[in-house]
Amino acid sequence: MRDPLGAPIHPLPIQILLVVTYVLHIFFVTAAIGSLAVGLYGLSRSEENWKRLAQVAVRLATQATGLGITMGIAPLLFVQVIYDPAWYAATTVMGLWTTLFIPAVALGYLFLYILYLRGNIAGVGYVSLLLLLLAGWIMHNLSSFGLYPSRWVEWYAPGGVPDTRGVVFHGYNLPRFGALLFGQAALSLGVMLLLFAWYFRRREDVPQAFLAFVESQARGALRLGSILFGLLGAVWAFSQGAELGMALPVLIVTLAVAATFFLHSQKASSERALSTLGLYGLALLVVGILREGMRTAALERMGYSVLQYPFVWDWGSILLFVATALAAVPVIVYLAQVIYASGLKKEGADPAPSVERFGDLGVRLLVGWFIFYFALGLYVLARTF
């Protein structure tokens, strides 16, 4: 069932890109869910700190959703290259839900924006949360389906008669869904709140008492997240993990992450928010590798080896990708520097002159990319004639 064209590069770099970009994606997605949930809770409270935190959390949720969606594009691409049989079997057998995924995300995002702009329509926020959770559930099914290749035909054609409506969910595992979504949402929320308190620690217009409140909520979120992740992770290990012969690795990873963040929550502070972010990034990477390991192991049982995926070295496409990365990454860094600098003071602030020069370089890099793009096209045109 593999695509006869093969991959355009050795499968290992694709697999690495898949895991790394998944980590970026899941961080923002879970941060969005966690922020929205705490924002909605905050809206229901009357205390000033909670009201203020609700505003912050809803804004965080809005930006995190946009970034989560954008970051999700990359793993979606790479999974189709090396796991095409598993992915396409899932997307067709659950075709209706596959198609509804984007409308659910789009509507959820739109409602979230309305909540952000209007500030106090909690009902809209709850609808948004439900839609985003539905999208998460769909993605969980699409991903988990691939772990059971021996059941694909039976799921597609129960009793030998194909069901081509694509309405039934298959392959789900509730503890896994709960650990990776709710457990990680609380952990991501904790990290984001710490980063918020760290960023605004020098702003005179932001009360220190509020920042202390945010910090304490961050610690609570980390504690809650670690407990959820540990408990649900253990059930995940003994359910899906055991089915796939991977109970022990799942148990070790989930308990290690849970214990690390439970202990870390006691001493986490806004001053050390960046190291907490680093630690969390590492934890997400380990969980991402675990997910990948489960998929590899499940498919290898059926004789499917990712590293044996046929490939050609398609240098043209690799060249275009690398050239684009070289042009785009400095620009992304520049934009991050601008937004960072502008928020340091209440009335806004310009980035340092060196950053401005970096911005000019970014523009030149983008123009350079277009020159490269057209030159490459003319070269291909000349070669074809």
Binding site: P8, Q80, I318, T324, G377
Partner: protein, 462 residues
């Protein structure tokens, strides 16, 4: 071959078309809007017209909320809907162009992150820095167009890729250059309509409204005229003979497609002329109406482009039914149709499942009608409604009425008709053994009787 998702109530291909056109509308508006806004921002700076910032803020907020994120999201939505409806087609694109899409992903990040930075830094950084962010947005948004044009064009005109299998040959394909420039021009017309909508929502006496509306009218009209000319005089002539033939066959490109395109172009043109000659008459509702009509025109244009490669999903390589027909395919790939004709679809394909189908002949307990359903679903459902699952509002080119209209209402007549299908330029002949084609005919008789109960009493009379 993967399992088949026919759609649910609505045919899967219609779902893809709706999402795709929504994406085109949002994304085209976005790309040109970034250039238009950059120009307006420069104007505000150089001519000292700070009131233009009000237009820019209103435009940026809508772009942030709707165009950027929804544009990007519907783009991903096309993937999702196509992975459900035509997985092998999208797989071919992914395996050729994964790094091109990954490159586009970088532009998406700049777009989505950048528009947020752009919006939130109004008045918080110097005007020069803000204008630079606007320029970065315009360049990155154009980068997304620059990449997707190559992939879109590949499906219709894969060009030298069919011989070399090199992705660069498929990307810079014969329709690449005309489509790149035509789309770039036409998107200014869409952006102008969007600008009218935004400016029209400002207070009537706002100076930005009076200044932006005629400017948008001029920019949009130039884009519309130039883009239309590029389509007619460069893009269409760049197509292969097969596509040009289909353009002349009403069964392939229905006249309603041309009507939609013409309506979109004429309505957009009239609104843009009104913006130049009588800007006070332009209001936000008129902008919405014009965008709706432009959507109609886009729908006609995009559907026409999609149909021009029929019967293939990737012209000259893979049929819409996801079977590889190319006899000399790149990278040593072999045509699948001959093998399926020889060995049988039910024996060869893992998801061609029917009770008893893997055994030999009727003695295995095979239900020929059920086997026929599986074969018809596999081969016909990507372009046709083949069952009541997707018959909502008549479905997509539904087979039962189509066959009835041609007098093919019983299995023997349908069987003969199946053999004749290879004679149409927009369809491949069905694949499978002779028995399997019998099964297909036996199944097709069934939905005809379901759709037209009166035929049951006539015993299948024509």
């Amino acid at each position: 071959m993967y399992p088949v998702w026919e759609g649910y109530l609505i045919h899967s291909a219609i779902v893809v078309a709706i999402i795709a056109v929504a994406h085109v509308l949002f994304s085209h508006v976005t790309v040109a809007a970034t250039w238009f806004n950059w120009w307006v921002e420069r104007k505000a700076l150089l001519e000292n017209k700070p009131y233009l910032q009000d237009y820019l803020k209103a435009s940026a907020l809508r772009l942030l909320m709707l165009a950027y994120t929804l544009g990007a999201m519907f783009g991903v939505g096309i993937w999702f809907s196509v992975t459900a409806s035509n997985p092998r087609g999208i797989s071919t694109l992914i395996h050729n162009f994964v790094f091109y899409w990954a490159a586009e992903w970088f532009w998406f990040i700049i777009d989505v992150f950048g528009i947020a930075v752009y919006y939130y830094t109004f008045g918080r950084v110097t005007p020069k820095t803000h204008a630079r962010i606007g320029l970065i947005l315009a360049l990155a948004a154009s980068g997304t167009l620059a990449i997707i044009v190559g992939i879109l064009g590949f499906k219709l005109t894969p060009g030298a890729w069919l011989q070399t299998g090199l992705s660069l040959d498929g990307f810079y394909n014969p329709s690449f250059w005309p489509m790149l420039f035509a789309r770039f021009a036409l998107m200014f017309a869409l952006t102008a309509l969007y600008a009218l909508l935004v400016a029209g929502s400002l207070p009537k006496d706002h100076p930005a409204r009076q200044e932006v509306i005629p400017l948008a009218g001029k920019v949009g009209l130039v884009g519309l005229l130039l883009g239309s000319a590029l389509v007619v005089f460069w893009y269409v002539p760049s197509l292969h003979e097969h596509a040009k033939t289909l353009l002349r066959i009403p069964q392939a490109i229905q006249p309603v497609f041309y009507i939609k395109m013409a309506a979109g172009v004429i309505a957009s043109g009239l609104v843009l002329i009104t913006a130049i000659l009588s800007p006070k008459r332009v209001s936000a509702p008129l902008g919405y109406l014009a965008l709706a009509l432009a959507f109609l025109g886009l729908f006609g244009a995009e559907r026409t482009r999609e149909v021009l490669r029929k019967p293939d999903v990737i012209y000259g390589y893979m049929g819409s039914n996801q079977i590889i027909y190319a006899e000399k395919a790149p990278r040593g790939i072999k045509a699948e149709a001959p093998r399926l004709n020889e060995e049988g679809v039910l024996q060869r394909l893992p998801f061609a499942v029917a009770p008893g189908a893997k055994g030999a002949g009727p003695t295995s307990g095979l239900d020929p009608v059920e086997a026929g359903r599986v074969l018809v679903t596999l081969q016909c459902s990507s372009c046709h409604t083949v069952s009541k699952n997707t018959a909502f509002l008549g479905g997509l080119r539904p087979l039962p009425p189509l066959l009835k209209r041609r007098g093919m209402t019983d299995a023997p007549a349908i069987r003969a008709y199946l053999e004749a299908i290879g004679g149409f330029p927009y369809m491949h002949p069905p694949v499978g053994t002779s028995e399997e084609k019998e099964y297909m005919a036996m199944y097709l008789e069934k939905p005809i009787k379901e759709f037209f109960p009166e035929l049951r009493t006539e015993g299948g009379a024509k």
